[in-house]
Symmetry: C2
Subunit: 398 residues, 2 copies
DNA sequence: GCACTTTCGTCACCCGCTGAAATAAGGGAT
DNA sequence: ATCCCTTATTTCAGCGGGTGACGAAAGTGC
C-alpha cells in the first residue's frame, strides 16, 4: 500500500543488496554465477563487485578452473569487513558475544544476574561492560563495530526508540534503547530473544533454505517466531506470535499471565512439572526445572505417571503446533527451547501424529516438523544477525 | 531473502504504482500534493502523470483554487479505463458481477446452484455464462476487461495454475483456473472467499486506513483473513489463516473436519445451533440456520437456554479472537460473516471483555474489535479487487 | 494593467543498467 | 614453445529515468 518512491540510487542499493545477500547466504560464487542467479547483466555484476572489492566488503576466494576457458574467481563477503555483537539478556545471565561477519565467535562475556527481577540499570551496566570487554579482548576498533543486536525475554516495542516489556523480569515499558544509547555510540537493534533464536535457526540451523518457517520455543515460557522470506512477522507493535498465551483449553488451567487455558499453562516447563507433581502426588525430582524435565523424560519407561504426563504433553504440544500450521501454513515448524528439545527428543513422532490429527490435511501436508539444531545459546548469534541483516539489506552501506 | 534485481524500468513501474495507488485509494489529488506525499520530484510527477493521462489511465477532476496562485488541477484514476469482474462461488449460488475501476457495480448475474455438491463443470459453466451476460449487458468489449477475480469457499492453491480444495463443495484438487482458461481469454485471479471479503473490507469497509487487520468471518464455517499493508498473508501454499480449525478446547466437541475442539465446532452457526438444541432439549426454531441464529439472538431475553448459549458463544469467540490478537498483533479485528454480524450485533461488548481477559495486555491494547461494514455480498467486490490490485502494483501496465 | 503568488512543464545533467566488443586467462594441439 | 579455442571479466557507448533549475501558465489583489 504505502510503497515508497524509487530513485536511481535505490536501484543500485537494491542490486548491491541482492548480490551481497547471495554471497553471504549461499557462499562463494563467481561473477559468472552471480549474473545467472541474480538476473543482472555481466557488466553490472562486474561493476558492482568491483566497487565492493575496493571497499573491502567482498574479497576473492580462490578460483575454480573450467574446462578449457578462463577460470572463474570466487568471491565471498569478507568476514573482517565489520564486526557485530549479539547480546542475550536471559533470566539468569547477560551474555555479550562478538562475531565477525561470518558469525565466527571471537570473544564472549557472561555476567550473571543475581536478582530474579533485575533493575534495568543493572542489565544495561552488564551489557556495556560486556561490550567493552569483548571489543577489547578481540582488539576491535569502535568504528569497525557494525552494530549491536540485543535479544530480550519479552515484548520489544519497535519505534523511534525500542521499549521493552518483559513480565518475567518485572520490566514494564523500559526504554532500553535510550538507556544503552547513553553509554555507547554503536548502532543498536532489539528483538525478542525467541525471535532472534528463530533468526539464527533460519540462517544457520534447521530453517535454512525454507521460505516460511515457524520456530516454536518451549522453555519455562512458550513463544514462537514466524519467519517469512527471512524477515520475522511483526504485527503493528511487534508483539506478534505470542503463541504461549493462546487459549488451547477453554476454561482450563490458570496461566501466570492471568488467563485460563493458555498453551503455556500446559506445555511450559513449569506447567509440565506441575502436572507431573499432581499426577504422582508428590515432589518432582531435581533441584531445578531442567533436571525435573530430564527426570520426567528419563522416567517414562518406569513410571506410569511420567508416561501419562508426557503423552498429555505431546497432545497439547501437537495441538498447539497444529494451530500454528493452520494459521500460518508454514513450510516447516522448528521446535526448540531447552524444554522443547528435551521433550521433542522423545515425543517428536507422537507430536507429529497429534498435529496431523488436529491440523487440516492440506496445510499439514505442506509442513514438516523438526527440532532446532543450534541449541538455546544461539540467542546471541541471532541477535548479532540483526545488524548483519541491515547491512545486507542496505547493500553494504554503513 | 530472495529479492530480485532492479532495472531502470522497474523503477518507473514502481513510481507509477506509487502514484496510481495513492490516487486510487486516497482520492483525487493535485500533482503538487503528489510530490509531497510520494517524495518524487515535481518534474517526475509531471512526467509520469502526463504519460498516464495520455494513456487514459488517469483523468483530470476539476481544480481547487488556491489563495492567489495558479489553481491545482485534481487528478483521479479514470473509472472507465478498464472493467473488472468479481465472481463469488457460494454454496447456494454463483454470482458474477461487473465493476468499473472505481468499483461501481454495472451488471450482475446470479446462477443458483441446485446440488449441495455441484460438479466443477457446472460451476465453470455458470461463471462463463455470467461473464458473457454481464459484459453483454454493460456493453464492455473483451479487451476492456482487465481481469476476473474469483472467490471460492475453500483453499486455493496458488501456483502456475490455481487449484481449489473445497470441502464444503466436495471439491478436491479441482483445477479451476485451467477449466476456466479453456472458456475465456480474460486474466484470472483466484482466492478464498473469506479472503476476498477481507480485501473488500480493507479497501472499502471497516479496515480502511489500517495497516494490520485480521478479518474474522463466522458463518456456517469459520475463517479469517490476515491482511498486512494491503496484501493478505499467505503461507507456503496459500492455505493460511484457517482459524476455524484451530483447537480451542483440547479434547472437546468433534468438528466436521474430523478433529476435536476446533473453534468452528463451537462458534460456527451450525455448532451454535447444535449447542442450543442440546441446551433446550429440543428442536431449534426456523427452517434454516439463518433464522435459527436470528431466533437465538431474539430469544436471549426470554429464554434462559438462549442466553446461556449466547454467553458461551461470546466466550469461545472472544477467546478465539484473543488468539488472533496474540498471534498476529493486529491493529484491528473485523468480525463479519452472516452469523458473525448477527451474533456480534448483540455480543460485541461481551466478546471484547472476554478477548481482553484472554489476550495479553499489550497486544490487546493495540487492537480494536469492530464489525464488518459491507455485509456478505462483498465477496464479489473483493474478488474484483484482485485484478485492480495487480493493475495498481504494475503501475497501470496491462 | 501590473505585481505577486503558486502550480506545472521543459531541459540539461547525472546515475546506473545493458549489449557489444575487447581483453584476460587458461587448456590443448601442433 | 606457439597458436588457436574456450570461457570469464572488463570496457565503452547508448539508453532510460529521476532531479534541480528555470520559465511558462494561471490565478488574485491593487
Amino acid at each position: 500500500m504505502e510503497a515508497k518512491r524509487a530513485t536511481v540510487r535505490d536501484m543500485r542499493r537494491r542490486n548491491r543488496a541482492v548480490l551481497l545477500s547471495r554471497l553471504y547466504h549461499d557462499g562463494p560464487s563467481s561473477r559468472q554465477e552471480l549474473t545467472g542467479v541474480t538476473g543482472l547483466s555481466a557488466a553490472s555484476v562486474s561493476n558492482l563487485v568491483g566497487e565492493m572489492l575496493e571497499q573491502g566488503l567482498v574479497e576473492e576466494a580462490g578460483a575454480v578452473d573450467s574446462d578449457g576457458g578462463r577460470p572463474r574467481t570466487l568471491l565471498r563477503v569478507r568476514p573482517g569487513y565489520a564486526y557485530v555483537v549479539g547480546v542475550d539478556v536471559g533470566e539468569t545471565r547477560v551474555r555479550v558475544e562478538l562475531f565477525d561477519l561470518a558469525m565466527t565467535g571471537l570473544a564472549k562475556a557472561d555476567h550473571p544476574i543475581e536478582s530474579a527481577r533485575p533493575a534495568p540499570e543493572t542489565v544495561v551496566r552488564h551489557i556495556l561492560a560486556g561490550l567493552d570487554a569483548v571489543t577489547a579482548a578481540a582488539g576491535i576498533a569502535p568504528d569497525a563495530l557494525l552494530g549491536v543486536g540485543v535479544g530480550v525475554p519479552g515484548v520489544v516495542e519497535q519505534g523511534a526508540s525500542a521499549v521493552v516489556h518483559a513480565q518475567t523480569l518485572g520490566w514494564e515499558g523500559v526504554p532500553l534503547e535510550a538507556m544503552l544509547r547513553a553509554g555507547t555510540g554503536a548502532s543498536l537493534y532489539f528483538d525478542n530473544g525467541a525471535k532472534t533464536l528463530g533468526r539464527a535457526e533460519m540462517w544457520f540451523g534447521a530453517g535454512r533454505g525454507a521460505r516460511h518457517v515457524v520456530v516454536a520455543l518451549v522453555g519455562s515460557g512458550v513463544g514462537a517466531a514466524v519467519l517469512t522470506d527471512g524477515v520475522s512477522y511483526r504485527g503493528v507493535s511487534s508483539s506478534a506470535s505470542e503463541w504461549g498465551h493462546t487459549t488451547i483449553v477453554y476454561g482450563g488451567r490458570r496461566c501466570r499471565c492471568g488467563a485460563e487455558g493458555c498453551l503455556e499453562a500446559y506445555v511450559g516447563a513449569e506447567a509440565v512439572l506441575d502436572r507431573w507433581r499432581v499426577a504422582r502426588r508428590g515432589r518432582v525430582p531435581g533441584p531445578d526445572e531442567e533436571s525435573g524435565i530430564a527426570a520426567l523424560v528419563a522416567g517414562a519407561e518406569r513410571s506410569e505417571s511420567a508416561a501419562r504426563v508426557l503423552e498429555e504433553t505431546a497432545g497439547y504440544l501437537g495441538a498447539g503446533i497444529a494451530n500454528l500450521i493452520n494459521l500460518f501454513n508454514p513450510e516447516r515448524i522448528v521446535l526448540g527451547g531447552w524444554a522443547g528439545l528435551a521433550l521433542g527428543d522423545v515425543l517428536l513422532p507422537r507430536i507429529r501424529e497429534v498435529a496431523a490429527a488436529h491440523a487440516l490435511r492440506h496445510p499439514y501436508g505442506q509442513a514438516s516438523i523438526e527440532l532446532c539444531r543450534l541449541g538455546p545459546d544461539a540467542v546471541s548469534v541471532g541477535a548479532a544477525t540483526l545488524p548483519v541483516a541491515k547491512l545486507l539489506a542496505d547493500g553494504g552501506s554503513r
